[in-house]
């Protein structure tokens, strides 16, 4: 019933060429470094993520050995502190989210019925950056300098004064690398889900995992960005350049906590929501009926996404905040139980109403439901401020978050693995090993973590390398340790099963679970050239409810004809409208290139320079970045080929245009996501400024306002010159385009110069004044944005001068205009905040 056979209208040479175009070649090491296709990258990404899971788990086992008996000397204090920090950091930054992003990178395009993600080079960059970030972080163990400040690195403990070694610099810088990877992957997912779906897959027909990743992507943008700003602030403090978090200079330790937790709380839902999406798929397929109330399930996900941004203060209930403010956050923390409850009952109702097939994926779903419910209930308990005052920072809360994270994320991930690995490898996993895997993990998880609720209530705090005997904690801790080892054996059975199935697993076939979604219409494993025919979707459950995936309407058939085993000589995929997935254009996707790998190496060099300040690293990083930039942004042969093929085609209403030249291009949407990142970063720095401002009366007015005022006006004028360039594109006036871009460039450069010059550098002392640091954060952000605009405008000018007719240059001009608009608005905001607001108080 799946339509993967080429229709007679496609000559076999075309089909052959199409397959060639889509395979990442040549093989070997160089081939691997150049790969951009989501399938091989996602496989590697998942393996790397799983490796970090095992590493983090090993660290956890070491902790449990130390805590198995009181006053143990297996690990000394410093080693234990490094190990617990790295355990948390690994699990939170190097395992869960990368693994989920990897799984999404693999499955989502298949599920959405598209050939690849919209920014393949970004996919590769995300992976290499993540790999290097993780290696960078773990290299700290080799020097005995692993981070030791806890995974959330509270200040002032992690200020240079109390953490003088390089340990926390490894953490801070290593994280920045991982953050870039996460945001890049998120941008891709958002644009993919909105614009790269099968024809006819309107939003209300989109699989739940698609909704889950859309919400997750948006959450990553709004949550990770404050963390990037915060970790940058911490690193600047540690280098002695600023004083955001130094109390003696007016800095505020609680600012770090606000910034960290406005990331940290959504972070756990960023982990949970994809897991919930996976559960919905497994339940629906293995209950052999549609999910009860798709609408409610989707809305639960959206609600959880929003509400999770209103809970962060519940991590700070013991810091001395006003009771009523804490009351707001208790209410929100309780309210989130409602959408979670809808999901849990939705899954149970689906199982009740269906005819469940009790195979391993469903077992893991059961385990998830039991463990996550317990974790959710203890979550409601700690949401109540009075009880949190007892449970916070004790083993009670350690139990709570392991119940929700292992139960609520790891178990669903394993369910997803048992469900989708047959698609990925082409072989089923062993049911028998799967049952042992599940039961060992389920039983020993509870053995390990349930006693921690009790030891927390018996007064055992978190992050202690030992505890005194005679307090009733010995047995509880010993039981936890035994449980941890049992759990580890359970986990390793998963690895054994995967290895076993490679050789001995039963061949899976296309659709071993008789599932409804599009990924099961391709072969197992899927070919490099996915979807020779673009599938057409007419219902929420295409493989259950449709006789085939072919277009039955003549106009649609005509439009999709151009994508049937085509384009043959370059990689093309369908672009659709957001709401109802009507075909809109054909996008060109880049083929293999060394640009992403080179860029990732450049990042690594630059971050290593930030760590040890060896100038040669700065030079190397700079050179590599320039090379990568050049490789990335130079005109691509395949794209030139595409443009030639499409020249003169735009007049035909029944044939799709090429997605280039403005808002139709994926890059334009990517720029919008980038602007969302910049907006969030601006909001973070401005909030930090106001938070720090009242420390010293905040009346250190940086000089007169003439120069900065003019700078602001010039940036605002840039909005107009950018729009002017776009007007030139729309009206095919290359001279106007050049003028508009050049004017934008000049205005930005002058604005930058004036802005920098306006700062009274001799009197402003950021090293000893938190307020001055806050000022510099806000204006410094603006300067960074202007520099990015200058780079973009330079790129635009190169196209406008070198190849004025080339529509790729038009896309760049559109993007420059978008960026210039943001820059103008942010200039006004920055001016109002730094130069006007002190005059008002």
């Amino acid at each position: 019933m799946a339509a993967t056979v080429a229709s007679p209208s496609v000559p076999p040479e075309t089909l052959e060429q199409f397959k060639q175009t889509w395979s990442d070649a040549p093989p070997g090491l160089l081939g691997m470094l150049r790969e951009v296709n989501n399938i091989p990258i996602a496989r590697r990404y998942m393996l790397t993520g799983f490796a970090f899971f095992l590493a983090g788990g090993l660290l956890g086992l070491l902790m449990r050995v130390q805590l198995g008996t009181p006053e143990n000397t297996f690990l000394d204090a410093e080693t234990y502190n490094q190990i617990f920090t790295m355990h948390g950091t690994t699990m939170m930054f190097l395992f869960v989210i990368p693994f989920i992003e990897a799984l999404a990178n693999y499955i989502l395009p298949l599920m959405l019925g598209t050939r690849d993600l919209p920014f393949p080079r970004m996919t590769a960059l995300s992976y290499w950056t993540y790999l290097f970030g993780g290696i960078f972080l773990y290299s700290s163990f080799l020097f005995g300098m692993a981070p030791d400040g806890g995974w959330f690195a509270l200040v002032p403990l992690t200020n240079i004064e109390y953490s003088p070694g390089l340990n926390m610099d490894f953490w801070d810088i290593g994280l920045s690398v991982a953050e870039i990877a996460a945001i890049g992957a998120a941008a891709e997912m958002i644009v993919a889900i909105l614009r790269a779906r099968a024809a006819g897959m309107s939003l209300n027909r989109m699989p739940i995992f698609g909704w889950a990743m859309l919400v997750t992507g948006a959450m990553i943008i709004f949550a990770f960005t404050p963390l990037i700003v915060g970790t940058a602030m911490l690193e600047l403090d540690r280098k002695g350049l600023t004083a955001f978090f130094k109390p003696e200079a007016g800095g505020k330790p609680l600012l770090w906590q606000h910034i960290f937790w406005i990331f940290g709380h959504p972070e756990v839902y960023i982990m949970f929501i994809p897991a919930a999406g996976i559960v919905s798929h497994v339940v629906q397929t293995l209950a052999r009926r549609p999910l009860v109330s798709y609408t409610l399930m989707v809305l639960s996900i959206v609600s959880i996404g929003f509400i999770s941004f209103g809970l962060w203060v519940h991590h700070m209930f013991a810091t001395g905040m006003s009771a009523v403010a804490m009351g707001f956050f208790t209410a929100a923390s309780l309210a989130i139980a409602i959408p979670n409850g809808i999901q849990v009952f939705g899954w149970i109702a689906t199982l009740w109403a269906g005819r469940p097939v009790w195979r391993t994926p469903l077992l893991f779903v059961l385990g998830f439901l039991v463990i996550f419910t317990i974790g959710g209930l203890t979550g409601v308990m700690v949401a109540a401020v009075p009880f949190d005052w007892q449970a916070h920072d004790t083993y009670f809360v350690v139990a709570h978050f392991h119940y929700v994270l292992i139960g609520g994320v790891v178990f669903p991930l394993l369910a997803g693995m048992y469900y989708w690995l047959p698609k990925i490898t082409g072989r089923l996993l062993s049911e028998r090993l799967g049952r042992w895997n599940f039961w060992l993990m389920f039983v020993f998880f509870n053995v390990a973590f349930f006693p921690m609720h009790i030891s927390g209530l018996l007064g055992m705090p978190r992050r202690v390398y030992t505890y005194p005997a005679g307090l009733g904690l010995e047995t509880l801790n010993l039981v936890s340790t035994i449980g941890a080892f049992g759990f580890a054996i359970g986990v390793s059975l998963f690895a054994v099963n995967v290895l076993w199935s490679r050789k001995r697993g039963e061949p899976a076939g296309d659709n071993p679970w008789d599932s409804d979604s599009l990924e099961w219409s391709e072969t197992s494993p899927p070919p490099d050239a996915q979807f020779v025919r673009i599938p057409v979707v007419a219902s929420r459950h295409p493989l259950w409810e449709q006789p085939d995936l072919l277009p039955h309407e003549p106009r649609l058939a005509r439009q999709l004809e151009d994508l049937h085993a085509r384009p043959a000589r370059w990689r093309g995929s369908l672009v659709v409208s957001v709401l109802d997935a009507k075909p809109v254009a054909i996008a060109h996707l880049p083929g293999p290139t060394l640009a992403p790998f080179t860029m990732a190496v450049a990042f690594l060099a630059l971050f290593a320079w930030a760590l040890i300040e060896e100038t040669v690293l700065l030079a190397a990083g700079g050179v590599l970045a320039a090379v990568a930039f050049f490789l990335w942004f130079r005109p691509q042969q395949t794209e030139t080929l595409a443009l030639e093929e499409f020249r003169g085609r735009e007049v035909d209403p029944d044939r799709l245009p090429l997605a280039v030249g403005g808002p139709i291009a994926s890059g334009w949407w990517g720029m919008l996501v980038f602007i969302a990142v910049l907006t969030t970063a601006l909001a973070t720095t401005v909030t930090g400024y106001f938070y720090l401002g009242d420390a010293q009366g905040g009346s250190v007015l940086p000089g007169a306002i003439l120069e900065p005022g003019v700078a602001m006006l010039l940036s605002i004028a840039g909005i107009a010159t950018g729009a002017w360039a776009v007007r030139g594109v729309r009206r095919r006036l290359p001279g106007t385009v050049r003028l508009g871009l050049a004017a934008t460039w000049v205005l930005s450069a002058v604005a930058l110069g004036l802005g920098v010059h306006a700062i009274p550098w001799d009197t402003l002392d950021p090293e000893h004044s938190a307020y001055a640091s806050g000022v510099l954060a806000v204006v410094g952000f603006q300067w960074l944005v202007v520099i990015i605009l200058l780079v973009a405008a330079t790129l635009g000018l190169l196209w406008a001068i070198g190849r004025p007719e080339d529509r790729r240059g038009h896309t760049v001009a559109h993007n420059v205009s978008l960026l210039a608009t943001f820059t103008g608005v942010s200039a006004a905001v920055v001016f109002a905040v730094v130069y006007l607001s002190p005059r008002l108080w």
Partner: protein, 342 residues
């Protein structure tokens, strides 16, 4: 919950019920949330038992529904052609919206009113206590408004039974957290700000406490004791602590004091009544009256003290007391002297 017999009796019965629940749960270890020793922890324990009961009921409900869903024999008709799911949706709304709302709204109200009842007392609670956190010990000061009455001790908080004592919390370095599980919820000590908490013990005894915010290398060894005394004994204790150190009466003591003053101890420690007036380390004026050394790390006995002074870094690596080499005779004298500082 007032009854016809009056609120006091029902309050006592309530307390007994709480205690029984705690005993059932596990042994009393001096630092248990489930064995409240005062109104602060009691109010929190009430909330806890209520939430535990509700949570258990909900868990059993969800488990029951799940098991039923697993064992329930659905109709053999092909369910994929389902077009009307309203019946099932009703159950999802019942379980996922109605049930949580009905439980969460009263829970929120109860939580907020419990929180209101945990606010620090507004009137003065003489003496006022200021606790400053340092890596890795507790600097405890009692003030009454008259600086002559101020006294400093370390790692122990003495309070009178039956009335609340307000505590101001500050930090000299990083964030710490003050936590006496049997008496009160925790409150952080944040550098650059002053937080306020309070404790009240309803019976005499020793209540253990610890630092509950990771504060560096020896966070695990930053314990303290709250010692509740009947009012009269507390007054006696306070008066004794206010006095400067006992004058040395014998030659051993004099020799010990001399060792103390010349070996660098006075660079960090105060002994009121001697020239030693430094404040970066604990006040030792009445050191022998305290039960532990190094914030709960060791019992305060002569043998342990000897080990501590000889090599503090071996016992609590990384702590801020340096190793000071002493001759055995010097150590002997010093121990005698410190032992006399009751």
């Amino acid at each position: 919950m007032p009854t016809a017999r009056g609120p006091t009796t029902s309050r006592t019965r309530y307390r007994l019920a709480l205690m029984a629940a705690g005993l059932l749960a596990c042994e009393q270890n001096g630092q248990s949330v489930l064995h409240p020793g005062g109104p602060g922890a009691e109010r929190i324990a009430e909330l806890w038992w209520l939430m535990l009961a509700v949570a258990t009921a909900i868990f059993l409900l969800v488990l029951g529904v799940l098991i039923r869903a697993m064992t329930h024999k659905g109709s053999e008709a092909e369910p994929r052609t389902v077009t009307d799911d309203r019946a099932h949706t009703k159950w999802v709304l019942a379980g996922g919206v109605a049930l949580p709302t009905v439980i969460l709204v009263p829970l929120l109200i109860f939580t907020l009113s419990t929180l209101a009842g945990l606010m620090p007392p507004k009137d003065s609670t003489a003496p006022e206590v200021v606790i400053a956190g340092r890596q890795w010990w507790w600097d405890v000061q009692y003030t009454t408004g008259d600086p002559r009455d101020d006294l400093r001790t370390a790692n122990e908080l003495h309070i009178p039974v039956g009335r609340p004592i307000r505590i101001q919390l500050r930090s000299h370095d990083v964030i710490h957290s003050f936590w006496v599980p049997s008496l009160q919820g925790k409150m952080d000590l944040v550098p650059g700000q002053v937080n306020t908490t309070w404790v009240q013990a309803d019976s005499a005894g020793v209540y253990r406490g610890e630092c509950a915010e990771y504060c560096g290398l020896q966070h695990a060894r930053m314990q303290f004791r709250v010692i509740a005394l009947p009012e009269a004994e507390f007054a006696t204790w306070l008066a004794e602590q206010r006095k400067p150190a006992r004058a040395v009466s014998d030659s051993a003591g004099r020799a010990g004091q001399a060792v103390f003053l010349r070996s660098g101890c006075a660079f960090c420690h105060t002994i009121r009544g001697t020239p030693a007036r430094a404040t970066s380390g604990p006040d030792l004026t009445h050191f022998a009256s305290r039960s532990t050394i190094a914030a709960g790390t060791l019992p305060n006995t002569r043998g342990h003290l000897a080990g501590w002074i000889s090599n503090p870094q071996a016992i609590k690596p990384g702590n801020l007391m340096p190793r000071i080499p002493l001759q055995p005779a010097e150590l002997h004298a010093l121990l005698a002297y410190l032992g006399s500082l009751r």
